[in-house]
Each structure stands twice: as C-alpha cells, then as structure tokens.
C-alpha cells in the first residue's frame, strides 16, 4: 500500500484551464502539505493543513486553493493556469508539524 498517493502522475493542460490534483494518505497523520518543486529542483512549501484546518499558507496566488475534506485527504485546485505554474507538485504528510515528512511521488504539471 502506498503511504501517500497523489493523482494524476502527469497533467498536461492549456493556459487558462482549471485543474485539480488529489492526495490521500493512509498513515493516520494529522498534518498534510503541498510542496512545489520547480525546474531547478527547489522545494517550496505552499500549504499545510492540520486535521482539516489550514495552518500554513505561503505567498501563493489565490488561484491555488487547497481543500481538505477529511484529515486523510488534501486536494489542490488551480484556476486559470499560467505557464509559470509548470512544476512538480508534491503532497506530503507528517504526524505533527516539524516532524518527518512522507512525500507522494509527485504530479508533473505542464501548462502549454
């Protein structure tokens, strides 16, 4: 069983479209995250949820909206996609803030 699973693995779309990435963890963790990895491999946190409550919201355009229906799921919806949104998006979870992160395998988003 995959501990942190995210879908889809690849997402190719046109500028201006709206897309969603789904994430689920079966580790029983309370905290989930979205990270963005750019072409230079820099990893930057975007959002963090603890037990469905938003606790970290970095300087991310409000076109990005996370949604956590329960503590095992954290989805990312992106409106009006732009070329600069092309990156790999990683979902992660941890048992608490500041603890070991378990990452999903990533979603490669390409905006054409």
């Amino acid at each position: 069983d995959t501990a942190v699973s995210q879908t889809p693995k690849y997402l190719v779309t046109q500028m201006g479209n709206d897309k969603s990435i789904k994430c689920e963890q079966n580790l029983g963790h309370d905290t989930m995250y979205w990270y963005k990895q750019d072409s230079k491999k820099f990893l930057k946190i975007m959002f963090s949820y603890n037990n469905k409550e938003l606790i970290i919201n970095e300087t991310v355009p409000n076109r990005f909206s996370p949604k956590s229906p329960d503590k095992a799921h954290l989805n990312l919806h992106i409106n009006s996609l732009e070329l600069g949104d092309s990156a790999v998006y990683f979902c992660a979870s941890s048992s608490g803030q500041g603890e070991k992160l378990f990452f999903g395998s990533g979603t490669q988003l390409s905006v054409l």
């Binding site: 942190v4 995250y33 230079k40 491999k41 820099f42 990893l43 930057k44 946190i45 963090s48 970290i56 990683f90 992660a92 608490g96 803030q97 500041g98 603890e99 070991k100 992160l101 378990f102 990452f103 999903g104 395998s105 990533g106």
Partner: protein
Amino acid sequence: QQQVKQSPQSLIVQKGGISIINCAYENTAFDYFPWYQQFPGKGPALLIAIRPDVSEKKEGRFTISFNKSAKQFSLHIMDSQPGDSATYFCAASSAAGKSTFGDGTTLTVKP
C-alpha cells in the same frame, strides 16, 4: 531570506569515496534537522535526521554531523556507491512551524 543554505550545488565523487554536503541555518528555533534523498521521478524520502541535543548521528554509511554553535550541519556518505546518485536536501523545522529546505545537491557517484 533563505533560512537554510546548502552547498555544494552539485558533487561528483568516485565510487568508494566520501561525499560531504553542508548546510547552514539561521533560525535558532529549529529543532529538527532531516536529510532527504530524491531519485528522478520520485518524491523526497527521509534518509536520516538529527536533533540539536546530539553532535553526530550515524546510520550505516550515512552520518550527520551537527554543530549547534556554528548553526551548521552536514551529511557524510561513506563508501559512496553509484546507487547513491540522487539529489539530497537538507531541511530544518521546529514544532511550531514548517520545514524549510535547502536548495538541494545533485550527487553523482562515478563507477
């Protein structure tokens, strides 16, 4: 303001050699210092981690050295193998906040 600085950006080591990656942090509230290993097409995975109450932690061929006064920590990979070729990230976090990552080091181990 970059809170965790990592060097070098890339590293080439011969098989059997020692790989050393360094990180420096600024925020003294950090109390957890993990290293993550990432292979192409995969997510980062925890390799080894240390808390500031110890100066060294060893797990197999991987060792973290931690210098609290200098606010620096490093990863040593002994007897480096081609299978160790990956991108390595240091990170720092506190219970009150997020994990902050270094910019990554691409390690290539030549046979």
